[in-house]
């Protein structure tokens, strides 16, 4: 990863296990074909991140 970061002039973000990304996808994605679907507010999205353990400054939404 350091090689890739160096080659792309990027700085390291955060590394998350696939298992946790699976939990995030499960919590985040609701089928937009549901009639009652609506976009989440910023705070609702923040709570989804927190619900799968993604907390702290890196995960703070604007």
């Amino acid at each position: 990863m350091d090689r890739w970061l160096g080659a792309n002039g990027a700085v390291r973000g955060t590394v998350v296990a696939l298992e946790q990304v699976w939990r995030l996808a499960e919590a985040w994605y609701v089928d937009p074909r549901q009639a009652r679907w609506r976009p989440r507010t910023r705070d609702e999205s923040q709570r989804v991140l927190a619900s799968v353990g993604l907390v702290g400054d890196f995960w703070e939404l604007p």
């Binding site: 990863m1 090689r3 890739w4 990027a10 390291r12 973000g13 955060t14 590394v15 998350v16 296990a17 696939l18 298992e19 990304v21 699976w22 939990r23 995030l24 996808a25 499960e26 985040w28 994605y29 089928d31 937009p32 074909r33 009639a35 679907w37 609506r38 976009p39 989440r40 991140l49 400054d57 890196f58 995960w59 703070e60 939404l61 604007p62």
Partner: protein
């Protein structure tokens, strides 16, 4: 009264368009074009483009600033990306590693993702089952902090 009718009509239009977009993606693999939206709703192309631009559902469906066509409809991408997601009947492009997992949940079926290691470029295959948590040993690198995700969504 007229304003209220207009608002209700707009809300129903938004729901219909959203459902049409995702139905098309899930059955065909890519989102509808503006022309296809116009045909589906029996309106002219300009009105279809306007309808799409005014969809206004947060960051869920993003319209390409240059073409006016659907660019992303989370978690799906309209054009090829490094994340090819294969379902039983349809294949999709996902925007990122997070989204490749999201496709399995929206498609509601186990999928196989064909991608490559961002670092060494080695081909990778990842199976994602929405009913069974992924126990693969891989990791995902989130390059940017959440507050910068939408500064440049293509880069993110």
């Amino acid at each position: 009264m007229r304003d209220e009718q207009r608002r209700n009509g707009r809300a129903e239009e938004t729901i219909s368009l959203r459902i049409f977009i995702y139905d098309r993606i899930l059955t065909r693999g890519i989102p509808p074009t503006v022309v296809e939206i116009a045909e589906h709703f029996a309106i002219d192309r300009d009105d279809a483009g306007r309808m799409l631009a005014e969809l206004n559902i947060g960051k869920t469906v993003l319209v390409h600033p240059a073409t006016g066509e659907i660019w992303m409809a989370g978690p799906f991408a309209a054009a090829s990306t490094p994340y090819r997601v294969l379902g039983s009947q349809t294949s999709w492009w996902a925007n990122c590693a997070w989204d490749m997992m999201g496709v399995a949940f929206l498609a509601n079926e186990p999928v196989r993702v064909e991608t490559s290691c961002t670092d060494c470029r080695a081909p990778m295959t990842i199976d994602v089952d929405p009913r069974r948590i992924s126990r693969d040993a891989g990791v995902v690198h989130f390059l940017l902090p959440a507050r910068r995700w939408y500064d440049d969504i293509g880069y993110t």
